[in-house]
Amino acid sequence: MSFTLINKTKKEELEIPHENYTIKELAEDLELPSQSHVYKKNNQIVIDETVIEDGDAIKIIQILYGG
């Protein structure tokens, strides 16, 4: 069970670590600050509670840059 992570120009295939793995858990694993990114699942914007499923393409868009 895996998904594709697209972050800027980087594209990688990652294992889904456990069942009901959410966008929120992914953000925590990647140590991304809360609310500074928008997540798209299969090209649709989704919320933190969304579960990542086998074959999904998850795109990360940074919207806040601090300062």
């Binding site: 914007i45 919207i63 601090g66 300062g67």
Partner: protein
Amino acid sequence: MKCSKCGNPNVIIKKEQSGQYLCKDCFIESIEKKAIKTVRKEKMLDKGDKVLVALSGGKDSVTVLEVLDSFRKLNIIDLCAVTIDEGIAGYRQEGVDIAIRHAERLGIEHRIVSFKDEFGITLDEIMNSNPSKGSCTYCGVFRRAILNKAARDMGATKIATGQNLDDEVQGILMNYLEGNIDNLTKLGPKTTSKSEKFTVKIKPLREIPEHEIGLYVVAKELEVHFAGCPYAQQSFRGEVSQLINNLSENHPTIKYSTLRGYDKIREVVKEEFKKEYTVSRCERCGEPSANKLCRACVFLEEFGR
């Protein structure tokens, strides 16, 4: 979960402060309604105004342009835009290009003004000269000077900037923490001056959180320049922003309550700490100034320009 307004199952935000879920269309509508409500509540616009948008090409200024364009389409106001090129290598050009495309898309008058052309020095050159102050101080003073001058040249009656809720709250806390009550009194939805040479400034996005503006431009597929100013991390504003965002994790309404609290005391503080001074002209450049030299010229003399 479903959209709390229309029942659409494709939700794009859960509003932490209200628990409300919204789909893309309802979210876009909510942001535009909120900004329009702020404009009306604070009486930011008068019929026939020509509004100059300070258009960097970033998410905030593009959103301001989008919101104000709805007033232009109703023939309430006219719009124009100015993009400031501070001279930050590897950062600014993309925003300038995006700003050009938005101005062309809407068919509005647009000017690009650079620090180099206007003052003979770029922000990079300033920061490489071991200056006495932080980057944001110089940048803010020079940007304001350019916007005021451009507004007069283009016949604009208002200047609209993209300050969002986060920016306003940072400003309130920064000035309070530094004991700068004079600057604290200058914040607010609409800033005016005694001198007619200073154009009224308005902030239509001041009640919208920064991350919602980011989500708005992504949802509406607006082209924006997503990047951080390379000098931002050096600033006190960056530290204050971090502090407020940390507090917001467990207190999601804290930015709104800080702004509401400030708005309640704003007029009293303004009245209590109002300064009597005469606005004359800067001896060097002729721009309005309470002192012999305006702040921009004081800085330019520091750099031998």
